[in-house]
Symmetry: C2
């Protein structure tokens, strides 16, 4: 990588990979890419699968993913025209990684839930040591 004239580093504030990562890692980006990993979807199919997404947010997410070359939007001639979304090769590689992440997080949820309940039950959270209770 260090021989590459273009080295992308998401840790660097001004790296162009940051806004890309924001879309990919954002709630709707993760779910849209992961849904498309199951195959081509029409807009309304995606909207049902990505439960809770608004029409506007899904539309914006798909445009961003299309702009980054991760999703292809195809209009099939029919009445009314059928618009289908699918992953590009880059999109499929990233979606596969996101599906791994989702499965991992879902598998960790029992421990995460226990940790969260324990944390919330703490009487004197260490996170606010600057504010003594007296």
């Amino acid at each position: 990588m260090s021989l590459d004239p273009l080295v992308f580093d998401v840790f660097a504030k001004n790296c162009t990979s940051r806004p890309v990562m924001d879309i990919i890692g954002g709630r709707w980006g993760i779910l849209t890419l992961a849904a498309l990993q199951q195959g081509t979807h029409r807009f309304n199919e995606l909207r049902r699968r990505v439960d809770g997404v608004s029409e506007k947010m899904l539309s914006q997410t798909l445009h961003a993913l299309e702009r980054y070359g991760l999703v292809v939007r195809e209009v099939r001639s029919a009445i009314p025209p059928r618009v289908e979304y699918s992953l590009t090769d880059s999109g499929a590689r990233i979606a596969a990684s996101l599906v791994d992440l989702i499965e991992l997080v879902e598998a960790e949820m029992p421990q995460i839930t226990i940790a969260q309940e324990r944390y919330d039950a703490r009487e004197d959270p260490a996170v606010v040591p600057q504010k003594p209770t007296r």
Copy 2:
């Protein structure tokens, strides 16, 4: 998974995995977990590594990650007290997956950049078919 009484599904609107995923997939969550995969860090070390994060955002991110049992905050007795952050086992598993994702996205950035430039150069983007140019 289907035998488990608690099945977490990030696609479901009200699943408690959604806010967890928001933190993990969010810009500062991804970078903080990935930074900690390199080992224990003090607050200011993390702030330098996660370039561009504000003190407030890093603090909020660390509290959320600690609450979810992904990060441990330890106060070492010293003058002034030394506060160190490290990953739990759950945190380390998720961080490893995030590092994979980061490396993948960084590797895809040349294609993503080309796609983006091509998209932005389009005279009549298909994304706004509702607005004819006349």
